[in-house]
C-alpha cells in the first residue's frame, strides 16, 4: 500500500512537471519574428542613455567617468568566439573591479545564440565579440549600438565597421613544413600551387570560403576571367588534401602530413614555430607566399546591454592593453604599430558586403570546387 501511494505521488509529480513544460512549448513560430518587447524597451533605453553619454565625452574625463560607472555596474557578460578571450579577461579583471562571465562557441553558434535570445527578448550579454561576418549580421539585425572614442579613430580603416570595431585580424597565410620544403621551392603567389607537381603536397580547409572569396575577387581584378579563376582553383583543389578545422590542419602540417597549408592562420604557425615545430610562413630567407588575406575580428556593444558602461570599458581595454596581449599571442592587432608584420606585402580582405548578402553562393561555389577536386583526381 505504501508503495502504491509513493507511486501515485511520483506519477503526479511527473504529470505536473510535464504540464508546466507543455505550457512552455511553442504554439507558433510567429513569435520568433517579433522584435523589441516592452521589458526590452526599458533595458535598451537605459543602455542608450549610458552609451550616448560616454560617446559624447572625450579624454581623461571620459575615462574616469567610464571606470566609475563600469565598476558601479560591477559585472559584464560576453558572448564570443575569440580563442584568446581568457588572457583578455584576466587582464581586464586585474585592472578593474568588474566580474566577467563568458560564453564561448564557434562564431556561427555564438551568432545563433544572440539572435535566438534577442528574438525572445532575453538579454544575456552586454558584448558580442566575434568575426566580421557574424558582427555584420548582428548589426544588420539592429542588435548593436555604435561605439565612439579616440581609440576607435586609431583603428585601421577596414576595422572601423558600421556598428562594431575591429580589435584584431585573422591573417590567412601559406604555412609550410621546413623539413619538406625549402623557401625556394615555394611559388611567389598562390596561383603557383595549380602546378601538378604540388599534387598531394598542399592542403585546403573545408570551411574557408571567405578566404576563397577574397582570392577569387583578387584574381578577377588582376585581369582573369571568372572561368579562368574557377579553373585555377579547381586545379589547386585537385592538388589539395582537404582538411576540416585549422587546428588539425596546423597539427598535420607540423607532423608532415602535407608540405604546405594554403589558408592557415599566421598565429597558429607562429605559435607552433615558437614551440619548435618545423613550420614557417614568413621565412628569414625570403618573402611569404602572397597575397595574404586578412579578416577583421572585433567587438560590438549590445543595444540591450544591462551593463553598458562595463561593456564600453571592455572595448577600450581591448584597444589599449588588449593590443599588447594580442601581440604576445602572435595576433595582429587592429591599431597599427611601428612594427607591422605585414608591412610591404600584398594584403587583401574578403568583400564583407558581398559575403553578408550572398554568403551562401560563395560557400556553395567553394564547396563545389573542393568536391570537384576529386573528379580531376580519379
Amino acid at each position: 500500500m505504501r508503495h502504491r501511494s509513493v507511486a501515485v505521488c511520483a506519477a503526479s509529480a511527473v504529470a505536473a512537471i510535464l504540464l508546466s513544460a507543455c505550457g512552455a512549448s511553442p504554439n507558433s513560430q510567429s513569435q520568433s519574428g517579433g522584435s523589441q518587447g516592452k521589458g526590452g524597451g526599458q533595458v535598451a533605453a537605459h543602455a542608450k542613455k549610458v552609451y550616448d553619454k560616454l560617446n559624447s565625452m572625450t579624454g581623461q574625463a571620459r575615462t574616469d567617468e567610464l571606470v566609475k560607472m563600469a565598476e558601479k555596474e560591477g559585472q559584464l557578460s560576453i558572448y564570443t568566439s575569440n580563442t584568446d578571450i581568457d588572457s583578455l579577461i584576466n587582464g581586464f579583471e586585474d585592472a578593474y573591479k568588474v566580474k566577467v562571465s563568458v560564453y564561448r562557441a564557434n562564431s556561427e553558434t555564438a551568432l545563433q545564440r544572440v539572435l535566438q535570445e534577442s528574438k525572445a527578448n532575453y538579454y544575456g550579454n552586454d558584448i558580442f565579440e566575434t568575426n566580421s561576418l557574424e558582427l555584420n549580421v548582428a548589426n544588420k539585425e539592429g542588435l548593436l549600438y555604435p561605439y565612439k572614442s579616440e581609440l576607435r579613430d586609431q583603428v585601421r580603416k577596414e576595422g572601423q565597421a558600421n556598428g562594431w570595431t575591429a580589435s584584431r585580424f585573422n591573417v590567412f597565410v601559406v604555412g609550410w613544413n621546413t623539413k619538406q620544403l625549402k623557401t625556394s621551392d615555394l611559388p611567389k603567389t598562390i596561383d603557383g600551387f595549380a602546378d601538378p607537381k604540388w599534387k598531394g603536397k598542399i592542403s585546403l580547409e573545408l570551411g574557408d570560403y571567405d578566404w576563397f572569396t577574397a582570392m577569387y575577387q583578387y584574381y578577377l581584378q588582376s585581369g582573369k576571367s571568372a572561368a579562368e579563376v574557377k579553373d585555377l582553383f579547381s586545379k589547386i583543389a585537385a592538388n589539395a588534401k582537404v582538411v576540416k578545422g585549422h587546428t588539425v590542419q596546423g597539427e598535420l602540417l607540423s607532423a608532415g602530413q602535407f608540405g604546405a597549408a594554403l589558408s592557415v592562420y599566421s598565429h597558429t604557425v607562429d605559435k607552433a614555430a615558437r614551440d619548435g615545430a618545423p613550420v614557417v610562413w614568413d621565412p628569414k630567407d625570403g618573402d611569404p607566399v602572397q597575397p595574404i588575406v586578412i579578416r577583421p575580428n572585433g567587438v560590438g556593444l549590445m543595444k540591450t546591454a544591462k551593463n553598458p558602461a562595463a561593456a564600453t570599458l571592455f572595448v577600450d581595454f581591448e584597444l589599449t592593453e588588449g593590443q599588447k596581449i594580442f601581440a604576445g599571442l602572435f595576433r595582429i592587432g587592429s591599431i597599427p604599430t611601428t612594427k607591422d608584420p605585414l608591412q610591404g606585402y600584398q594584403v587583401i580582405s574578403p568583400p564583407e558586403n558581398e559575403l553578408l548578402t550572398h554568403g551562401k553562393k560563395w560557400d556553395d561555389l567553394y564547396s563545389s570546387i573542393l568536391e570537384g577536386g576529386e573528379k580531376v583526381d580519379n
Partner: protein, 577 residues
C-alpha cells in the same frame, strides 16, 4: 530455432489490469501515461521544430529545402559513399563487438580484465582525438605503423585515408556499443540450450549459428540499427579521413547547410528527413523481428546459471584475438595520445622528442579554473541523464513490449527519433522553447539535462527494449498471480532481471554524455561549462597537445567511474535467477 523456446507455457493473460477497484487511475496507468507523455514531449519539440523549418519559410509551405538538399548532381555519389561507409562500419562493429561479448560472457577466454578497458576507452576518447590518433598511426605519409613495417612491406602499407580506413576507425569506435548490448544479451541467456545442442553433436560453429545468434537476434537488430544510423550521421571520421582524398559524404552536406548564415534549416531538415525515414522503418522492423512470438525469451521461470564454455585448444587463439583487439582499439590510440600529451608539439618519436617530454600540458589543465567546474557539471549531467533515461526507458520498454495498449509502437518510434535530429537543431529547438518558458530553465544546467535526456533516449530505449524482449512474461504473471501489484512486480521482478541491460545502457550514456558537444555548445551558460566545451576550446585554440592531455584525464576519470558501475552492476546481476 524452436530449440530456443519452451514448449509448455501457461495461456497468455491480459497484462493490462482491468479497470481498478477505485474510480481513479491506477499507478500503472499514471506512470505509464507519464512516461509516454515525457517521451512524446522530449521527442516532439525538436521534431516539430525540424519539420516546421523544413516545410515552411516566410512565405508559407515550401519544398525548396529538398531541392537544395538533393538537387545536386553529386548527391547520388554522396549517398553511395555514406551507405558504403555506414554499412561497412556497422558490420565491422557488429562482428567485433559480438565476438568479444560472446567470448567474454560465455567462454573461459583469458585476459577478461582487458574487456572492461576495451569496451569503454574507445567510447571515452573524443571522436576527433581518436581519429587524429589514427592518422598519426596509419597515414601513408607519417603513420607510425607504416614506419614500423616499412622495412618488410614497403612504404604506405596502411592507408587510413580510404573508405576502408574510415570503416576501420568508425567501426572500432562504435564496437563498444555493440559490445555492451551483446554482453547484456548473452548474460540473460540460458546456456543449457547451447549445451544441449553440443551434446547432440553439433559443432561449436553450428551452435553459434543455429542457437546462440538466433536467440540474441533482437540485440543484433538493435545494434545494427543504432550503428547504421550513427555512422550515417557521423561527421568526424569522414571529415578528417575522407576529405583528404575527396571522399565526400551525406553529412558533410548537413554541415555545410548549417554553417553559413542564415543556417539552411530547410535543407538540413530535408537531409535529416532521409535519415528519419530510414530510422522509422528500422525501428518497425526491429520490433517486428523482436516480437515474433516468444522466441527470444531466454529469461524464464526456469533457473539457470551461466557456465562458461570451455574453449579447449582454441583458448590461446581467442586470447590472442583479445590482445590484438585491445592493442588496436585501446593501447595504440591511447599511447599516441599519451605520447602527444607530453610533447610541446607533435613530432614522430625520436631521442630528441623523448628528451623534450614534460608535464606542462597537464599543468596547463590544472591551471584552467574552468576545468573543475566543467568536470563537476559533466559528472552531474552524465549521472543524472543516464539514470533518468534508463529509469524511464525501462518503463517505456514494458509499455512497448508487454502492454496491449493500442499505439504503443508510437512510443518506440518517438523514443528513437532524436537520433536523427542534428545536434544544432536540437539546441535551437530547446532554446526556442525555454527562452519563452515561464519556468526559468534557460541559462541553468537543466536545459542541458533536457538536451542530454533527449539525445540519449534512443540508446536507452534500445538497451531496455532488447533486454525486455528476452524476459519471459510468465515471471511477472506468476508475481501477479501471487498478489503482487504492478509496481511491486516491476520493481522486484522485472527491474532485477533487466539490470544487465539497464546497467549497460547507463554506462553507455554516462560515457558518451561526456563527449556531447553539438547541442551543449548552444545551450550552456557561463559557469555551466561541461568538459566537451573545454575540449572544443582547446581544439579551437590549436592546443593539440593540451587536448591530448585532457583526453587522457577524461579516459582515466571515466574508467574509474565505469569500474565502480561495473562492480555495482555485477552485484545486482548476482541476484538474478
Amino acid at each position: 530455432m524452436a530449440t530456443a523456446t519452451r514448449s509448455e507455457r501457461p495461456p497468455r493473460r491480459l497484462t493490462v489490469a482491468r479497470g481498478g477497484r477505485r474510480w481513479w487511475p491506477t499507478p500503472k496507468i499514471l506512470i505509464g501515461a507519464g512516461v509516454a507523455l515525457g517521451i512524446g514531449y522530449l521527442a516532439i519539440v525538436p521534431l516539430y521544430y525540424l519539420l516546421w523549418g523544413t516545410f515552411f519559410d516566410d512565405k508559407g509551405f515550401t519544398l525548396s529545402g529538398f531541392t537544395r538538399a538533393y538537387g545536386n548532381s553529386r548527391i547520388g555519389e554522396l549517398i553511395t559513399n555514406s551507405l558504403w561507409f555506414a554499412v561497412g562500419a556497422a558490420i565491422l562493429a557488429l562482428v567485433v563487438g559480438t565476438a568479444l561479448a560472446y567470448l567474454n560472457v560465455r567462454t573461459d577466454v583469458p585476459f577478461k580484465g582487458l574487456f572492461f578497458a576495451a569496451s569503454i576507452i574507445p567510447l571515452v576518447i573524443p571522436g576527433i582525438l581518436y581519429t587524429v590518433a589514427w592518422i598519426l598511426l596509419a597515414s601513408p605519409d607519417i603513420g607510425l605503423m607504416n614506419k614500423a613495417i616499412e622495412p618488410v612491406l614497403g612504404p604506405g602499407f596502411f592507408d587510413v585515408f580510404t573508405v576502408w580506413g574510415m570503416v576501420w576507425v568508425e567501426g572500432l569506435h562504435l564496437s563498444p556499443i555493440v559490445f555492451l548490448l551483446m554482453v547484456a544479451a548473452f548474460r540473460s541467456m540460458d546456456p543449457s540450450l547451447e549445451e544441449s545442442a553440443l551434446m547432440s553433436g553439433a559443432s561449436r560453429t553450428t551452435v553459434f549459428r543455429r542457437v546462440t545468434a538466433p536467440l540474441v537476434r533482437p540485440a543484433i537488430v538493435a545494434a545494427v540499427l543504432i550503428m547504421t544510423v550513427r555512422s550515417l550521421e557521423s561527421f568526424e571520421v569522414p571529415a578528417l579521413l575522407g576529405l583528404q582524398n575527396g571522399i565526400f559524404v551525406f553529412t558533410s552536406r548537413i554541415y555545410l547547410m548549417l554553417r553559413t548564415y542564415p543556417p539552411d534549416l530547410a535543407a538540413a531538415g530535408a537531409l535529416a528527413g532521409g535519415l528519419l525515414l530510414f530510422a522509422v522503418v528500422g525501428v518497425a522492423l526491429s520490433n517486428f523481428i523482436g516480437r515474433a512470438g516468444r522466441t527470444y525469451q531466454t529469461v524464464t521461470g526456469k533457473g539457470f546459471r551461466p557456465r562458461p564454455l570451455e574453449l579447449g585448444k582454441w583458448r590461446p587463439v581467442a586470447g590472442a584475438m583479445v590482445i590484438v583487439y585491445f592493442i588496436f582499439t585501446v593501447l595504440a590510440p591511447l599511447a599516441v595520445l599519451l605520447y602527444t600529451s607530453l610533447l610541446k608539439f607533435y613530432q614522430p618519436p625520436s631521442v630528441a622528442a623523448f628528451k623534450s617530454m614534460n608535464l606542462d600540458n597537464y599543468r596547463a589543465l590544472a591551471h584552467m579554473d574552468k576545468a573543475t567546474t566543467a568536470l563537476k557539471n559533466s559528472l552531474f549531467l552524465g549521472v543524472a541523464s543516464a539514470t533518468l533515461v534508463m529509469a524511464v526507458m525501462a518503463i517505456a520498454a514494458w509499455l512497448v513490449i508487454r502492454s496491449k495498449i493500442p499505439g504503443r509502437q508510437i512510443i518506440d518510434q518517438l523514443a528513437f527519433m532524436p537520433l536523427v535530429i542534428p545536434g544544432l537543431v536540437l539546441g535551437l529547438a530547446l532554446s526556442f522553447v525555454y527562452l519563452r518558458s515561464p519556468v526559468p530553465i534557460y541559462g541553468t544546467i537543466f536545459i542541458l539535462l533536457i538536451a542530454y535526456c533527449t539525445r540519449f533516449m534512443p540508446y536507452g530505449m534500445r538497451y531496455a527494449v532488447t533486454s525486455m524482449q528476452q524476459i519471459g512474461s510468465e515471471l511477472e504473471e506468476s508475481a501477479q498471480v501471487s498478489g503482487a501489484s504492478w509496481w511491486q512486480t516491476f520493481r522486484r521482478v522485472l527491474l532485477p532481471l533487466l539490470s544487465p541491460g539497464l546497467v549497460a545502457g547507463w554506462i553507455y550514456i554516462l560515457v558518451v554524455s561526456f563527449r556531447e558537444l553539438s547541442s551543449s555548445i548552444l545551450l550552456y551558460s557561463p559557469g555551466k561549462e561541461v568538459l566537451s566545451i573545454l575540449i572544443f576550446e582547446q581544439y579551437e585554440n590549436g592546443q593539440f597537445t593540451v587536448l591530448s592531455a585532457l583526453g587522457v584525464v577524461m579516459v582515466l576519470t571515466l574508467v574509474v567511474l565505469v569500474f565502480i558501475a561495473y562492480k555495482l552492476g555485477a552485484k545486482i546481476g548476482l541476484r538474478d535467477g
